[in-house]
Symmetry: C2
Subunit: 591 residues, 2 copies
């Protein structure tokens, strides 16, 4: 019996994915699952599957293994010993790595039988996600799902090896931490030994990683589990994984170079070459040109400022907006002249939902403009518009006239919709982008008070910090987001390391020094003891793997995800706990 | 300015640990903390420290940097630019990697000042652990603590690379799981969207990793965070890290070989060669010979069965014990004849606390026995004892006569105490040991019902499974513990993969089939669908690193540990949460 596989064990000599013509003649033992079975002229063929592949097992009629082969049904766990034989030339399967050979079974042991399956593993398309999640152990046997998990695992090691190569250290930060009232809702954990008190599960290791920099750790990373008790969506889970890193004595560019190298390493593992440095755009610039802080730059579509064209417009929609300090901006859809009035109505509804009063559109067909509002637009304006947007036969132009804060997201949503409908050519397969210099502060929608846009610990741009006293809304920050194909993959910044500056920013948010000490003492106290300049980033690992695996749902790249109501259908979590445990925790459930 | 360090950033060209004579003459910029400062004939010398080392900075009187150097106090964060110069031969410090050079400061920027420190970083010995934990960011700047964290990080990567080399995949299992009433107390997390229901934080990924095997994942590992709401001790934390692994189609030996290779890789990183395979001892054997299931085999001391010697003894202590089915066993302390009566009283107290009625001891001094109970022991018995234990001048012998369940742990505790007091020669520096074949079941001390000894999912030894029907207390299991230097490092087993067998074992513990499905449905349901044979282990990573770093407290190898009352003195977790949050969770705090 040969025994030369690195994955040989007491029960097998090889896996189901590694035998080929070179093994012909040897006796081997495989373990795996009966993937399919067919009877061909009385001979039974079983496709035996494990994580590594599929090998065809043959049981001849009259052979001692025939009864066991006959008994075998889908997903039986089998152990098969036999001789590797070459398939006759015509029967060789070139599409299968083991397609040159088959295993002539001399012994078949049923390690475990299987009941009839709730769904056929090969025909999962029609299976509800609820069923897939309940029987996750079957769903994960599907090669596509197994491949996602293996890739997720391998890429985490690519990332770790890359960061270790730059002398980062992975430091595990606590899961049982302190609740902070900022940001999203915390999951809390009652403390039995401190009745009435709670730990919080971390929304991110943000504060601990900054403390690590203040502890002199220099370069930290962690593949960290984060928790947010929020309403779930397809790209949200109550717990998610983040590639979290922080560096001392750096500026924004240092962090960017590290992240770019990491992405190059990840994509190199997939055989894809990524150019670096990634493009960097100002926040104000991406909002103007793409109407989004996470534009999908695989596509060329760009919003054009047209306020100058319409500065003397007699069209009230334009002149009214401009008079109120608004803008007139337009985007072109190549080929969108084919859109019907119904399509145009839908696009109008889309921007109305985002706060626009309406949408002006013009189709360019048969060499001339066509629009219900064409009469309000002068010949000179039409000509200027055509030139500004380089309009060609069959195109359509969509115009938003509103305050910039409304026009930008409307045109951004329109841009995404045009991409979805028109499927323009991709400039590249993977479009990375840094969006930089977000405003440091914004007005809270409810209270009207200043609040942070991303992270209360982000530093202002040094050259604009002086405006904190006079014009805080116009202070740009050292905040940068990493965008890939229109998805916000990560968010980071250079942090405040000076206590006075951090206190000044918190003061704008309404926290006096005592409140800062009480709520954020862990992070401001070390600033009294030589905290170093530092910065970092957190990158959503589930999202990154989701994009790479080409799935719309991050549930397809997480082994045991929760439903949108936060339930695990397999383990039936959450569940009631017994009264004794509640009593020990000094808790009572209320209505 | 040279800029050739892999850790160069916008703020520094090199770290404080890498400059040597080869850099002499170049202009560099370092960042770090003022570790110490001294004035030598008007010249100021500052030792600038970062994670990587210390470099001596020189500020000459009258130089433009002198004022900044004078202002600098302990733990100021500095940025220093200057020329690397060779120290005059006599001044070179051979004990310091950068001792050949110093940095002639041309520019010193105070990046952040520091208040006076609550304790001197160099003199931490007298500092209370409470102070160290409150100011953890200062405690971690101590090179010894930083080194522990760096080693912890590096060894985790050694382990990962080793396991990836064997085609293991790291799969992240959920932190928000279902509470199971077995084992230690769970930390629970109230679910806002499912009022009255709770998630539990995992005590280990046990069930999920078994489900992964049933999902066909073949080889899984994870550096997993585990949670136990138990009373804390120096080697316990509410959250701890485990190197968790599981393999399909394996027996005990397959798992053992993987773990041995992992330990060899870890210790090879430390420059230590570890022999493998590790010794394997039966549970019954270690209890007999060492009185413990986690004996420290760095030392030769061994317990000897002496029941045969005393089978006709007239000494009631011995004859009484033997008549009741007990044993007489002895252990020798080399040189222990020097113990005083007071020492002997203390050792007697030790075994009494463990349930023994007393302790018989005999000193061998000046060529003859000396003991208060010598008169009850015949000459022949004395001679036999001397021979059995190879007693020499200056030794002492300690005898326990009791039921094996009492005698064994008493002699085990005595063995540890003799090692601590006598400091015998070490046979080896790192004594690994497998303890195997623990009993599958034992009687619960309170209820008298059968319960599992380690893990309810452990399989019985196949050849003894038939005794489950007739003599369940004597069924040995496929359970194995990994012991290093007297510390239980890990625990694993080959698991049940057959539902009928798992149900039979649960039935002995008092769970009928419906209860098994209700409580353990997640793990028994997949057994209906071709679950494969599988086994694995979980290894305590904090303990392993603690042993390697030579610390008694795992708090010294955890960045932000909790106190024994479960508090984080730095972040002040746990804490009260606001009423709004409690209300959203449908919870009320009771007295």
């Amino acid at each position: 019996m040969t025994n030369n596989s690195s994955k040989a064990t007491a029960l097998r000599t090889h896996t189901c994915g590694e035998l080929n013509a070179a093994n012909a003649g040897s006796t081997v033992t495989l373990c795996g699952w009966a993937d399919s079975k067919r009877n061909h002229g009385g001979v039974l063929f079983i496709n035996l599957r494990d994580l590594y592949g599929v090998t065809q097992v043959v049981a001849a009629p009259g052979s001692p293994v025939f009864a066991a082969a006959e008994e075998t049904k889908s997903e039986y766990a089998l152990r098969v010993t036999g001789k590797v034989t070459l398939r006759p030339g015509a029967n060789a399967n070139k599409n299968m790595p083991t397609g040159e050979i088959e295993l002539e079974a001399a012994e078949i042991t049923v390690l475990n039988a299987s009941q009839p399956l709730p769904f056929d593993l090969g025909e999962h398309a029609g299976v509800s996600e609820e069923t897939r999640l309940k029987y996750r152990y079957l769903d994960l046997r599907r090669p596509k799902m197994a491949k996602n998990l293996v890739l997720r695992s391998r890429l985490s090691q690519v990332i770790r090896n890359y960061l270790y190569g730059l002398d980062f250290n992975e430091v595990e930060t606590p899961m049982l931490t302190r609740s902070t009232p900022e940001g999203a809702r915390d999951f809390v954990v009652p403390s039995r030994s401190n009745p009435g008190e709670f730990y919080a599960l971390p929304q991110s290791p943000q504060q601990f990683k900054q403390v690590l920099m203040m502890s002199g750790m220099d370069r930290y990373f962690q593949l960290a589990r984060n928790f947010r008790d929020e309403e779930l969506r397809s790209d949200r889970q109550p717990e998610h994984t983040q590639v979290d890193l922080e560096m001392s004595f750096v500026d924004e560019q240092d962090v960017a170079r590290v992240v770019e190298g990491m992405m190059q390493a990840v994509f190199a593992h997939l055989g894809e070459e990524i150019a670096a440095p990634f493009p960097e755009l100002e926040f104000s610039d991406v909002m103007l040109r793409f109407g989004s802080d996470k534009p999908d730059l695989r596509y060329a579509l760009e919003i054009k400022e047209c306020s100058d064209i319409f500065k003397a417009s007699g069209f009230k929609v334009f002149s009214g907006a401009l008079a109120e300090g608004g803008v007139v901006r337009a985007i072109k859809g190549e080929g969108a002249a084919a859109f019907s009035r119904g399509d145009m109505d839908k696009l109008t509804d889309l921007v109305k939902k985002l706060g626009a009063k309406g949408l002006v559109w013009l189709r360019f067909k048969d060499g001339k403009w066509d629009s219900p509002t064409l009469k309000f637009i002068s010949d000179a304006e039409q000509a200027a518009l055509k030139e500004r947007l380089d309009v060609k036969e069959g195109d359509a132009v969509f115009i938003a006239a509103d305050k910039p804060a409304v026009a930008a997201p409307c045109l951004g949503a329109l841009r995404n919709e045009l991409i979805a409908r028109l499927k323009p050519a991709q400039l590249k397969k993977w479009a990375f982008l840094w969006v930089r210099h977000f405003p440091l502060l914004e007005r809270d929608a409810e209270s009207g008070a200043w609040t942070f846009t991303h992270n209360p610990f982000t530093a202002p741009l040094p050259e604009e910090a002086h405006k904190l006293d006079t014009d805080p809304g116009n202070v740009r920050s050292c905040q940068y987001d990493l965008v890939l194909n229109g998805v916000e993959l990560g968010s980071g910044s250079v942090r405040n390391h000076n206590r006075a500056m951090q206190e000044k920013i918190f003061a704008l948010m309404g926290y006096d020094k005592a409140a800062v000490q009480r709520r954020f003492g862990m992070i401001v106290s070390p600033m009294d003891f030589g905290a170093p300049p530092h910065g970092g980033i957190g990158i959503g690992y589930d999202r990154l793997i989701g994009i790479i695996c080409g799935t719309d749902s991050i549930r397809d790249v997480i082994a045991f995800p929760k439903t949108t109501s936060g339930a695990c259908l397999m383990s039936e979590a959450p569940s009631v706990i017994d009264d004794k445990q509640l009593k020990e925790l000094h808790l009572k459930i209320t209505d």
